[in-house]
Symmetry: C2
Subunit: 92 residues, 2 copies
Amino acid sequence: MTPRLEIEYCTQCRWLLRAAWTAQELLTTFATDLGEVALIPGIGGVFEVRLDGETLWSRKAEGGFPEIPLLKRMVRDRIAPDRDLGHSDKKA
Amino acid sequence: MTPRLEIEYCTQCRWLLRAAWTAQELLTTFATDLGEVALIPGIGGVFEVRLDGETLWSRKAEGGFPEIPLLKRMVRDRIAPDRDLGHSDKKA
């Protein structure tokens, strides 16, 4: 179902809780805009967030983890451009 | 990615946390067996768990919510039949 947001996380690094938290943040904000959020177990230190195939965040490329307000702005700009995100619209 | 487990939940009923908890239980047990777990926002009191298109649990049909040990046995039987689930293998 689209829009489809994917969160691929490293199971060896035990990032499931982080991935699930990120999923819940996005599903709380975009409950009626997102078709689904898929949690995808991966390996080797992966932490990637993709929206309909477009990579929004890659730990490999950017290091660390994405700030939730930044992710929300990236998702908003793509699937709900008129949405006011409140405090998440200020710079993190 | 398969096996694909879907959890469709009613946003109006605010079952996101329940759906996300169920997802984490299954991803903790089947981290290397599941291809993905998709959280799917729905409406109208829906709470359904599907594995590769097969409905494992439907609130409409069965009422209430699935017991996690039962869900784990259903998933195990289909994607990791040799797996010992420990205490989840005893009857709930």
